[in-house]
C-alpha cells in the first residue's frame, strides 16, 4: 500500500502502453501488484496452489480486458476488483464443497472434517512455530469460514490488508456505508464464534 500515490503516476503511463499492446508494460504493472495479490489470495484460500491459480486467472483477465480500462478508478482498484471477484467465486465454491466434505466421527461421537487431519507438508512450514499457533489459527480460520463470502471479503480487506472502508466499497462495487455495515455484521459473528477465547 505504501507509495501508492507515486505508483499511480507510473501506472497511468504503463496502462496506456499496455493498452497499445506493449506486453513489457503490462508485465511491469503485474510486478507492481502481484505480491499484494498473492498475499490476499493466500490468506483467503490458505493454499499456495490455489493462490497461484487466482493470480494467474486475475492477471490473464486483466491482460485481455486492459483495453476496456477507462481510468474511471485507479488501476489498483480495478485489479483488486478482478481479484476479489475471483476470490468470491472461490469462496462460494468452497462453501458448496464443504457441505460435501468427508466427515468422520471420533470415539466420543463428535464429527470432524477428515481433510483437516491431513498434516501440512508444505515446504517452509516451521513445525515449532506452527505448533504454537495451530490451535489459535485453526479456531480463527474456522470462524472466518462461517462468514458469508461477502462478509469474509470485507473483513479480510479491512482487518488483514488494512484497506480503507471507502476503498473496500469501491473494490466491491458498493458504497462505503454498505461496506461498514458488512464489517459490523462480520465482527459480531466472529465475536460470537470466538466468545470463549476472549
Amino acid at each position: 500500500m505504501a507509495g501508492q500515490g507515486l505508483g499511480r503516476i507510473d501506472d497511468t503511463v504503463l496502462v496506456r502502453e499496455a493498452q497499445r499492446g506493449n506486453r513489457a508494460a503490462f508485465e511491469e504493472l503485474v510486478r507492481h501488484y502481484d505480491q499484494a495479490v498473492l498475499r490476499l489470495a493466500m490468506h483467503l484460500t490458505g493454499s499456495e496452489h490455489e493462490a497461484q491459480d487466482i493470480y494467474q486467472d486475475a492477471f490473464l483477465k486483466a491482460y485481455k480486458s486492459v483495453g476496456n480500462f477507462r481510468f474511471e478508478c485507479s488501476f489498483y482498484t480495478w485489479i483488486y476488483r478482478i481479484v476479489t471477484n475471483l476470490c468470491l467465486d472461490h469462496l462460494r465454491k468452497k462453501q458448496v464443497r464443504k457441505e460435501d466434505a468427508p466427515v468422520a466421527t471420533d470415539p466420543t461421537g463428535e464429527q470432524y472434517d477428515v481433510l483437516e487431519q491431513v498434516p501440512d507438508g508444505r515446504a517452509g512450514a516451521n513445525p515449532e512455530r506452527d505448533l504454537m499457533r495451530r490451535e489459535l489459527g485453526t479456531r480463527i480460520s474456522s470462524a472466518l469460514e462461517k462468514l458469508t463470502p461477502r462478509e469474509r471479503m470485507v473483513f479480510e480487506l479491512k482487518h488483514y490488508h488494512g484497506l480503507k472502508l471507502r476503498t473496500v466499497g469501491e473494490v466491491l462495487n458498493t458504497t462505503e456505508e454498505t461496506a461498514k455495515n458488512t464489517l459490523f455484521r462480520a465482527t459480531q459473528k466472529l465475536r460470537g464464534a470466538l466468545a470463549d477465547m476472549r
Binding site: 499492446g21 493462490a51 494467474q56 490473464l60 477507462r70 482487518h159 461498514k180 476472549r198
Partner: protein, 312 residues
Amino acid sequence: MKCDWVKENILLYVYNELPDDARYELEQHLPRCTDCTAELKSSRKFHALLSELPVEEPSPNLVAASRMRLQEALETTKQGSFWHRLIFDPAAWLRQVRFAPALAAAIFIVGFAGGIATTYKLVGGSGSVSSMISGTPSQPAESSITGIQSISQEPGSNQVTIKYNTVSTQETQGSLNDQRIQQLLLFAARNNYNSGVRMDSVDLLTQQPNDTHVREALVYALRYDSNPGVRLKALDGLGAYVKSDPRVRDAVLEALMNDANPGVRTEALHLLDPVRADSSVRAVLQRLAENDQNQYIKAQARNMLAQLPEFD
C-alpha cells in the same frame, strides 16, 4: 444515548475509520464512562486476537514461479480487440457514441484551421518547406523504428554512433548523456533481434545505471534476454544496487533461482553476498543449499549460510 452512540462507533474507532470530530467526541467521553472504556478494551483485545492469524508474505520462490507461469500464458494470449470490445462491451461503445458529435466537431475545426494555416504558409512562401528537407532528420518516434543495426563508441570518449532502421536506415551521433541516444539504447536493449547489438547497448547502459529508466532496462534484460552474455552484462551493471534497490535484489534473486545458465546464476550468487542476511536472500540460499542440482551453487549457498549469525 451517548453510550449507545459510542458502542455503535467503537469498532470504527479501533479501525481508525472515524472522522476527526466523531473521534474527538468519543475520546472526550471515554475517561468519564467505565462501561465504554471496558467496551473499547474488549474490542481492542478482540482485534489483537484476530491478528494472531498471520498474513504470510509470499515467498520469493512462489512469486517467481507465478510470474514465469503467467509469462508463458501471456505468450499465447491475445488482448481483446476493438471489434471484440464493440461486441462484448456495448456500454463502452455507447460511451464512445455519446462523445462522437463533439469529436466530429473537434476534427472539423482542427481540419479547417489546419487547411487555412497551410494555405497561408504556401502563399506566403516562407521557405520553411525547403529548410525541413535539408535539415537534420527530426527525432524519430519509437514506433517508427524497426530495428537498431549497429552501435559503436569512439574510444576514449562518450560519443556514440547508432545506425537504426525506420523505413530506411538512418544514423545518429551524440554523447551518452544525450536523451535521444539514451532512448535508442533503451530501445535496442529491449527490442532488438540481434543479440550482438543488445550486448553493445546493455554494455553502454551499464555506464549510467543511476538513471531509473536505464536500471529498469537492465532489469528487463536480466529477466528476459535470451542471450546469457547480455544477461551477464546486465548483472554487471546492476551489482552496485543490490543493497539499495529491492527491485534489483528481487531480479537478481530470480536470476539465481531460475536462470538457465549456470554462469549467470553463479554471478548472481556472488552479487548477493553482501546482502546474504536479508530474509528473502536467506530463504533462497536455504533452498539452494538443500536441493540445488548444481553442486557448486549448492556448496556456495551452504558457505554463505554458514557465515551468517544464528537467529533464535
